[in-house]
């Protein structure tokens, strides 16, 4: 019986740890970019940088509100959910962006979008990274490494 209680506790801890885990920055497999600084990442997800170094247009995909990836995105941008929405309304209204980044309801769709658009970039929980997703280093670190800052 104590063994089972311990097992149940471990399951709880694992689920909690997964929710608070590292978030990977993933791009299309053919994208030559391998690393980004946190500032570059912020500019990309804020729509201030709209093309990769090779001139390829950036297509940003984000997850729906309430997901772990979305929380990591808001933390990266230093915004609340309401501020994020208002920010993009302003960006579109200023003519700085054509539309708010596409919100996709599942990681499967993010994977599909990454495969479809050569310039696509998205945030994915580390445990949900699949084949066909190229993971970028952020500030020289891969997700899962000590000191990785996107979580």
């Amino acid at each position: 019986m104590p063994f089972l209680i311990c097992l149940a506790s471990l399951v709880c801890v694992r689920v909690t740890a997964a929710q608070a885990g590292d978030v990977a920055v993933v791009v299309n497999d053919h994208n030559p970019v391998a690393k980004l600084s946190r500032a570059e990442l912020r500019k990309i997800f804020a729509g201030q940088e709209r093309s990769w170094s090779a001139g390829l247009p950036i297509r940003v995909f984000v997850r729906a509100p309430g997901t772990h990836e979305r929380l990591a995105l808001l933390k990266l941008l230093g915004m609340t959910e309401g501020e994020y929405k208002q920010y993009w309304t302003l960006q579109v209204f200023r003519g700085e962006a054509q539309a708010e980044p596409s919100t996709l309801p599942s990681n499967g769709m993010q994977r599909e979008a990454l495969a479809t658009y050569p310039g696509a970039v998205a945030l994915v929980n580390l445990e949900d990274v699949k084949a066909g997703m190229k993971v970028l280093k952020v500030e020289g670190r891969m997700p899962g490494e000590a000191g990785y800052s996107l979580n």
């Binding site: 019986m1 089972l4 209680i5 097992l7 149940a8 506790s9 399951v11 709880c12 689920v15 909690t16 929710q19 600084s37 500032a39 912020r42 500019k43 201030q48 940088e49 709209r50 093309s51 001139g55 247009p57 995909f61 729906a64 509100p65 309430g66 230093g78 915004m79 609340t80 309401g82 501020e83 929405k85 208002q86 309304t89 302003l90 579109v92 209204f93 200023r94 003519g95 054509q98 539309a99 596409s102 996709l104 309801p105 599942s106 499967g108 769709m109 599909e112 979008a113 479809t116 658009y117």
Partner: protein
């Protein structure tokens, strides 16, 4: 033995229950949150739609496959004419599911902005009334600007943007103003061009907030950034070409802006004398630089230099007929060089909004030594606390009494404070108190209430 069996099940049942309770634990904290429940329900619906789409896509290849088989069979029979080969779908093309999800359409995207205002001023001598506000009244309701914002993506690099505003005038009359109409072409991050009617990039506010009240923290624009057609001092709009882009500058995050166009403006006098000044602006040139340094997220520092030539040509607002120029004016035939230098530092991040802008407007008579300098600035700070955002603004404009172009403006300064309350992502209520000190006139106190919305 049979009697012992139920007893032996108890530990396993308890274990299973514990496991389930353990698995459920992380969700329990949010299960009481209606927003989370709504989001989860939405996600389930999305997934259900996605399954339907996948099922329909799965059926399509089967049909295509059967068609292909039919084609193969027909080609074996020489008596049947060859049928055209079935087109193989482009493997890189987005699937209908993704397209539907990201709404990648080439149609027109609409967005609307509106406001309903109530304002009261203790003005003893009525000033200029704008946006439907009746000067000299005890207080009245008005609807300000109702804006329709339209965008359409033409290609990956080209798009069209327009902003059509229905602005209330006197006695519930409305005029239509095509406030922006731009054909945009973004070659890359370093070269983004716009052709058409734009809002001049003099300073930060005109670029950042455009015209919708819902986007602004305060109920109104600072006087120096008010639209010229509503008594503002700056040429806020022009027709021509605007080019902007990033300058490779590493962590400094430098950007440039260059504009060339016509900013011809008729500016109504602020003091309510019923006159407008037809400035007959020549073509304007505006160049600016701004930096968004990496080391402080949310900081933007910039400067701009604007130049055009204008006249001091007073007209009656009611009839459009010329009126005698004020004493000391060189007359409507004279031209002035108008230069506007601006510098700003703003910080917008982590719920804090801190805007600071300074201006120096110089009017120099061409062919003479007469010149006037008009300094102006505003500073605005606000902080979001949940749904509420209290704000404070201080503004200052000092125009020489001898400057016939700005003789209606004079010296004006004072604070505004209030709060914005966001009911949700679409509706906000603002309450603002203003105190304005005016040279040679009694101080002006005002209360401005505003319901601003977007849809």
């Amino acid at each position: 033995m049979e009697k012992d069996r139920p007893m032996r099940h108890i530990p396993w049942t308890a274990a299973v229950l514990l496991l389930f309770s353990g698995l459920c634990y992380p969700q329990e904290t949010s299960s009481t949150d209606p927003e989370t429940i709504r989001q989860l329900v939405q996600q389930v619906k999305d997934l259900q739609e996605r399954v339907k789409l996948l099922e329909s896509q799965q059926n399509q290849p089967r049909q295509n496959g059967s068609q292909q088989n039919h084609t193969d069979t027909s080609t074996l029979n020489p008596s049947n004419p060859p049928t055209p080969p079935v087109e193989v779908a482009d493997q890189t093309a987005p699937t209908p599911g993704i397209l539907q999800e990201i709404h990648e359409t080439r149609g027109i995207q609409w967005r609307g902005f509106g406001e309903v205002d109530y304002k009261v001023l203790n003005q003893r001598a009525p000033e200029l009334g704008t946006y439907g506000f009746t000067p000299g009244s005890q207080g009245n309701f008005y609807s300000g600007d109702f804006g329709l914002f339209l965008t359409s993506r033409l290609t990956n690099k080209a798009s069209v943007l327009s902003e059509i505003v229905f602005e209330e005038g006197d006695a519930q009359t409305f005029k239509v103003d095509l406030r922006r109409m731009l054909l945009k072409y973004d070659y890359n991050d370093h070269l983004k061009m716009s052709f058409g009617r734009y809002q001049t990039n003099i300073g930060y506010y005109n670029w950042a907030f455009r015209s919708a009240a819902w986007l602004q923290t305060t109920a109104d624009r600072p006087l120096i950034m008010e639209f010229a057609t509503n008594g503002g001092l700056l040429p806020t709009q022009a027709i021509g070409v605007s080019v902007t882009g990033a300058i490779p500058s590493g962590k400094l995050g430098l950007n440039y802006v260059a504009e060339y166009g016509s900013s011809d403006t008729k500016r109504p006098d602020l003091n309510g004398d019923g006159q407008v000044t037809d400035e007959n602006n020549g073509n304007q040139t505006n160049v600016g630089l701004f930096a968004r340094p990496d080391w402080l997220q949310g900081l933007q520092i910039g400067t701009s230099y604007y130049h055009d030539q204008i006249s001091d040509n007073p007209l009656s607002a009611a009839t459009g007929a010329p009126v005698p120029p004020p004493p000391g004016s060189p007359g409507p035939a004279a031209r002035f060089d108008q230069t506007i230098v601006n510098a700003y530092a703003v910080y917008v991040a982590h719920g804090v909004e801190f805007l600071n802008e300074g201006f120096l407007i110089r009017h120099a008579l061409i062919g003479g030594s007469l010149h006037f300098d008009t300094p102006a600035f505003y500073s605005q700070i606000s902080k979001q606390f949940g749904h509420i955002r209290p704000f404070f603004r201080y503004q200052y404009v000092n125009a020489s009494s001898n400057n016939s172009l700005y003789d209606d403006v004079g010296l004006r300064y004072g604070p505004s404070f209030g709060a914005r309350y966001d009911f949700n992502d679409y509706i906000a209520f603002k309450a603002q108190l203003d105190h304005t000190v005016r040279r040679g006139e009694p101080d002006l106190n005002g209360l401005h209430l505003q319901l601003a919305f977007t849809f």
